[in-house]
Symmetry: C2
């Protein structure tokens, strides 16, 4: 009954080095979130299907991982649907749990459940894996981490400005040059108003979102396909060709919503006037973001040094919690594309070198009778806070050294009878081969700050 | 289409304060693991059903959460089994993924998959949630964290000694008084040999494991039910009444395995002779541990100050990876019962007070025209590494103060026109009501070390 050891497609193990690198990213993000007053939240991996279904569109419903009811799950299944093998119809009767698909819906569910005890505005961050049944391919996984921060319960644009500072500070700390683009859904709505296609606003937004990928010509074609007239398309394309924020004052003289959008973006820039970001913050009227729930400022971040698409994004929404019965709660959030940030940083060699996830020092013993002495030795080093390791058996020194080399320890200390007697220990640097004889006290001093 | 916001039974949300407390525990454990040379590992939430099935006994198979295949999952289902509503028979044709049930099987799977690149001995720790379809009740959840460390690929008893030090150091750091009990499966086998019931060794072990819970009389009865004779039961009970390790030398004069077990435990104590633990390490011949795979030393930890059952346990195994085709790889591991440790620490008020998960300082603005000034102010504080927050709108001061009170900020700074002009800011401690007027420089000094 021996099984082959395999991983499911689209899933990954993370070893020590990868985890150290990932934690390097998450740690930096977490630290900045906390500094800006965002507190952590964790929600369960499984949510009720009622919570999840219908929140991510038809494709989302399809890509949700569903957890089979335990026990005799068919007992309550619809017999007719079983007979006709109608999977869709059988589903609700055999599944009541689904796996977390993003962090936004669980956040909204949490806010609504805890509205009586939470004090608004409530600022939370959340860094957890999500699961999607996407077809696995290079860089796309069925389990991956999301990393979100949201401030909910206030319309104050201070939060937009804060979130821009958070992006800036995190990417400065990670050593990544980025461009943060900002726009506002109300500006896009103003453009739709100017073009007389307010009723097709969401269609327009979704199509404009693809401008970078498919180019202007195809965008015009798709807009036309949605029944938008040639002259309206001209007005839209003129609108999204605007580069200077202040041009909007004139462009929107007949659109109240457009002007409001202009003022919101302007206010964010104004807040940041006296504390400019290190990275570029750029108004980009063509930025649309595909998601339906945004209603105010929207953001997207790209690396300037690697072609990787968006490594962050977010925006303001006015009705995230409405679907759970709590109306009119405005919030704004951003997310970090941690998996892509990892890839960019790997490609650009931005990770520090010492993220091996193991101590740099290994103690070797020449003889079984020495093991106890070696053990006291590492115990003393550890008591002084030194991360170190010892080879657990007195096997041939060649084998112990091969282990030290293979695991890339920086230094080894070899202990034999001579060392025990003389109380002088040979410390060998593996890369250089350099050796020196040191007392225990000298060794403590040497490694204590590592 | 408004849904009621609910959590699935047996699952939990963790807010800021709980996460800080949990991270207090995990952080201490992680730090000690790393100091002792254990590196992190993370495995996916979902594993192939082939990997999971049959590893946890019949009950485990039942309690595994199974993830329904995506798409038209019934298309390939056995029609006859559907017709008869035979859930068990349908299962393999509609489910290929299961959710992580413990950290041991994924660890074994990882070791076997990576045996060519891993250098043995390999020391890993893993802190991740697992899922079990247990009936939810107080203190028992369907999603909970496990926290394991294992050293695999060496029989060296140094590792047993190290793991005892790890238990000791972690519980000292957490402020918990514990008793670590140690025994050895070979000693239990020796007792079975002495009683002439080697063939019923596992039955005996599982029954002895319940001694604490059900008492001696019921243990005798259950042993009898397994067909063990009265005289054999007497020998077993005499054996597990032994309290002094060295008595075993005599007791096992006819059991080679028993003597080996004695020597192993003795060696662990010997290693620790010159570096005694702070907590009690106690030989307990009646310690059995229920799990089938242990073959050498076994451990269990209990709090001395709270009745909570075991808050940690582990042992040595010789064939964890055999089921995936890699034979004879000996290892030893421990786990921390993090959820119970949390409850004990909560009951005993052992968590530090400052784990709120939010900054201690909140900036308030008297007027909308001040917001920009306040924003520059918090920006400067944050640039100096101070965790702080600002109320995002200039609503009535009463409302802002109520927010500060409700969220239990330690101090607020109220900024109005006067403060902007005088450059002296009122810092108010909320608990004491104490106020003082400070310059920005004084404020930086005051909060920078918080």
């Amino acid at each position: 009954m021996s099984n082959k050891a395999t991983l499911l497609k689209g899933t990954r193990d993370f070893g020590a080095n990868q985890i150290q690198k990932r934690e390097f990213i998450f740690g930096h993000i977490r630290k900045v979130f906390q500094k800006y007053g965002f507190g952590p939240l964790e929600t369960p991996a499984m949510e009720s299907m009622n919570t999840l279904t219908g929140k991510y569109g038809e494709e989302g419903d399809r890509l949700l991982f569903k957890v089979l009811n335990n026990g005799d799950f068919l007992a309550k299944a619809d017999q007719e649907a079983l007979n006709t093998k109608d999977s869709k119809k059988v589903l609700p009767s055999i599944v009541k749990r689904g796996m977390r698909y993003d962090l936004t819906v669980p956040f909204a569910r949490y806010v609504v459940m805890n509205q009586q005890t939470l004090k608004f505005p409530y600022k939370r961050y959340q860094i957890q894996p999500v699961w999607r049944a996407d077809r696995p391919q290079k860089g796309r996984y069925q389990e991956f981490y999301q990393c979100d921060a949201d401030a909910i319960g206030s319309k104050g644009l201070i939060y937009e400005a804060e979130l821009m500072q958070i992006y800036d500070e995190v990417f400065v700390n990670l050593g990544l040059n980025v461009c943060i683009r900002i726009n506002n859904r109300k500006i896009l709505f103003g453009i739709a108003e100017n073009a007389g296609v307010q009723d097709k606003f969401m269609d327009m937004t979704i199509i404009l979102d693809k401008l970078d990928k498919i180019g202007e010509e195809k965008v015009r074609m798709e807009l036309g396909n949605k029944g938008i007239s040639e002259s309206s398309i001209d007005i839209i394309m003129q609108g999204i060709a605007i580069t200077e924020l202040d041009e909007l004052k004139d462009y929107f003289k007949n659109s109240e919503t457009g002007i409001l959008g202009y003022q919101e973006v302007k206010q964010v820039f104004d807040f940041l006037l006296d504390s400019p970001l290190t990275n570029e913050l750029k108004f980009d009227i063509s930025l649309a973001r595909g998601l339906g729930y945004y209603t105010g400022c929207i953001f997207e971040v790209e690396s300037k040094d690697a072609k990787m698409g968006s490594i962050g994004g977010g925006g303001r929404y006015d009705d995230l919690t409405g679907v759970f019965g709590l109306k009119n709660l405005s919030g704004v959030g951003i997310s970090f594309g941690a998996e892509r940030i990892y890839d960019v940083m790997n490609d650009l060699f931005l990770f520090p070198n010492d993220l091996s996830g193991q101590p740099s020092l290994l103690i070797l013993s020449l003889d079984a009778s020495i093991l106890s002495h070696s053990f006291q030795f590492v115990t003393e080093l550890r008591k002084n806070g030194i991360h170190c390791d010892m080879y657990p058996e007195a096997v041939k020194m060649k084998k112990q050294m091969a282990y030290a080399d293979a695991r890339q320890y920086e230094s080894v200390i070899i202990i034999g009878e001579e060392e025990v007697n003389s109380k002088l220990y040979t410390v060998k640097q593996l890369l250089s081969g350099k050796q020196e004889k040191l007392s225990k006290k000298e060794i403590l001093t040497k490694f204590i700050d590592k």
